[in-house]
């Protein structure tokens, strides 16, 4: 047994493991810090703040998961159409369901349909027309924005079905339904990322497209699925958010554009692709949501939240990237 190479190897695997699994750690630590700060300043409601933030953060978490798949696929992959898909889906599903409990499933199906259509459109522009993903998804987003404006005049003021509102805002004991739902979805997608062949393959193509090609991975197909997942999550979250809020609104997309990207980056996934994790996104969503509360409680004004978010992202990117190999 050769000692030096073996110990180098075990040290190496230890480092790699820490590097990979604990990339989510900063987000968890950050959440705890902000949570404690909030409680200190507000002087009350530790658990209440936490559970409600987890619940609200679930929406950001969902679109973050979708965005993560797109970013993981590498090649400049990014989805800027998220907030617009959310909003248009909220309006379309509202008008499909028309406030009727019985049409809840139809609403869900409509949301999925929106997700598939937009996802395919994004992919078409990126892969066939060879538009850079930023421009392609942004352009699609703007087209959707127009669609939303038109739809909103026709289906304004339609409330969500009562059963939906109850489901979205309800609790199981002290724990909000959304929080439970979020954790369940989180576990499912953690498994998909870490234990499915798709999850493995998408992280492969994000590390090196050329290595992936020669290894027989079908990059184009994998990327298509990634954009579909992102749009489906965005459409579903818009549908869900309308239920939570009682109805669709034009500004509901608001913070979700930067937010969906922020949680991916803050959660420890690499912006260049190839190395991602789901729990970090959950923690980062919680962190950003708690941040809003902290800013309110400290009377720092709306702008402070934006500034902190922006600074955090630039900081995490600067500090957290992997060392580039200079040759």
């Amino acid at each position: 047994m050769s000692t030096t190479s073996d110990s180098k190897v075990t040290l190496g695997s230890k480092v790699l493991n820490i590097f990979r699994t604990q990339r989510a750690l900063p987000a968890f630590v950050g959440s705890v810090i902000i949570w404690l700060l909030t409680a200190a300043i507000a002087g009350r409601g530790l658990t209440g703040t936490l559970t409600s933030s987890i619940a609200i953060g679930t929406f950001l978490f969902f679109v973050g998961i979708g965005q993560m798949f797109v970013i993981t696929s590498g090649n400049g992959g990014i989805d800027l159409s998220v907030p617009y898909v959310m909003t248009v889906s909220a309006y379309i599903t509202a008008s499909v369901m028309h406030g009727q409990n019985v049409k809840l499933i139809s609403g869900l199906l409509a949301a999925l349909a929106v997700g598939i259509v937009v996802g395919l459109l994004n992919v078409f522009l990126i892969e066939i027309i060879a538009m850079p993903p930023i421009i392609a998804t942004l352009s699609v987003g703007f087209i959707l924005q127009s669609a939303t404006l038109v739809l909103s005049t026709k289906s304004s003021g339609i409330p969500s079905p009562r059963i939906f509102i109850n489901l979205a805002t309800g609790n199981v004991g002290p724990i909000p339904n959304m929080a439970i739902f979020g954790i369940i979805v989180g576990i499912i997608f953690t498994l998909i990322l870490t234990r499915s062949s798709y999850g493995r393959a998408i992280q492969g193509i994000g590390q090196s497209r050329s290595a992936a090609r020669l290894a027989g991975l079908k990059s184009q197909r994998l990327t298509i699925y990634a954009y579909l997942i992102s749009s489906l999550f965005a459409a579903f979250t818009g549908f869900l958010l309308a239920g939570y809020a009682g109805g669709p609104s034009l500004t509901m997309g608001g913070n979700y554009q930067l937010g969906s990207i922020a949680v991916v980056v803050l959660g420890g996934s690499l912006i260049a692709g190839g190395l991602s994790n789901v729990p970090g996104i959950w923690a980062a969503a919680l962190l950003l949501t708690l941040l809003i509360t902290l800013v309110n409680v400290a009377h720092l004004g709306a702008g402070a939240q934006d500034v902190v978010q922006g600074v955090l992202i630039v900081l995490v990117l600067t500090v957290g990237g992997t060392k580039r190999q200079k040759d």
């Binding site: 421009i135 392609a136 127009s146 990207i261 992202i313």
Partner: protein, 311 residues
């Protein structure tokens, strides 16, 4: 001057066609005041498009330009009127911030998309903190400067031509401009030829900052008051203007004069849609479609000519 061929003139043909359409729809537009009104909104966008163009020359993209312009607007409406010195200091500080962003992106090889997206929220946050709701007063001398009405040729036209000339001069007519474009095209070659690549990034981002400030100032002359959300749409619009103007995403391939023409095109498209009684709801979607169409046509052209992609 870059090689004059048919395709370089596209944004200008577009511009002329749109002007003719506008005049057809609204004959009174064909007048001094008409052109003044039509093109005054193009000036701030032309500045912004030029700023975006400098960033794209570096091979990057700036998603923070919109809120940056908004922040300038806020400073102009709140600080400038009372404390000229501090306002100037802030403007200079904002330009320095852009230079630092550029150095950060270069030094750590970060993706400009996400860094500028993060920066966009910093600008927005600061703007909201200073001015939570629209208010303020833009100094009269600013308003007068940008609403200059010289005889015969409307002020906006002169400004647009000037912006185009300056952008064109800096990037296409100076030797260092060639070095700047080269740094976006093949940074290693530029480095081997003895130039500092970090310096080129700093200068390109710095120039973008300067034109961003100018965009905010000229926009303030139009809005006359401050609002953190002013200029938010400039991100996509400036990218549209640069692309319609002939710029491409691979570094170094930009057309400064085209970007200004592109800005005018973008503004006129909005005007035409308004004259055609197209609801403003559709306008933003139309912009997305036009951007897609422009790039789709380019893709088809590339496919047809079978041009080999240059790495």
């Amino acid at each position: 001057m870059s090689k004059i061929n048919f395709w370089n003139g596209v944004p200008f043909y577009f511009l002329v066609i749109l002007l003719l359409v506008v005049i057809r729809l609204e004959p009174s537009a064909f007048s001094y005041n008409g052109f003044n009104l039509l093109l005054s909104a193009a000036v701030p966008l032309a500045f912004a498009a030029t700023a975006q163009m400098f960033i794209m020359a570096a091979g990057d993209i700036d998603l923070g330009l919109g809120t940056f312009v908004g922040l300038v607007n806020v400073i102009t409406a709140i600080v400038l009127i009372h404390h000229i010195f501090y306002a100037l200091l802030i403007y200079v500080g904002m330009i320095v911030a852009y230079v630092l962003l550029g150095l950060l992106v270069h030094n750590r090889q970060l993706p400009s998309i996400v860094v500028t997206l993060g920066a966009s929220f910093v600008w927005l946050g600061i703007a909201i903190m200073i001015l939570p709701s629209p208010a303020g007063e833009v100094p009269t001398y600013i308003i007068n400067f940008f609403n200059w009405s010289p005889p015969i040729i409307p002020g906006p036209v002169i400004y647009l031509i000037l912006i185009g000339l300056i952008g064109n001069f800096v990037l296409m007519r100076t030797r260092y401009g060639a070095v700047l474009r080269g740094s976006g095209s093949n940074a290693e070659a530029i480095g081997r030829a003895g130039w500092s690549v970090a310096k080129t990034k700093a200068i390109l981002y710095g120039l973008a900052g300067v034109f961003g400030i100018l965009s905010g100032l000229s926009l303030s002359a139009i809005t006359t008051s401050g609002d953190a959300n002013n200029g938010a749409s400039y991100v996509l619009l400036s990218i549209m203007a640069v692309i319609i103007g002939g710029g491409e995403f691979s570094g170094g391939l930009v057309a400064p004069a085209g970007a200004v023409a592109g800005a005018a095109v973008v503004v006129l498209i909005g005007t035409v849609l308004t004259f055609l009684n197209v609801s403003s709801d559709y306008q933003i979607g139309a912009q997305g479609l036009i951007l897609i169409a422009t790039l789709a046509i380019r893709a088809v052209r590339r496919f047809v000519s079978g041009r080999v992609k240059v790495k």
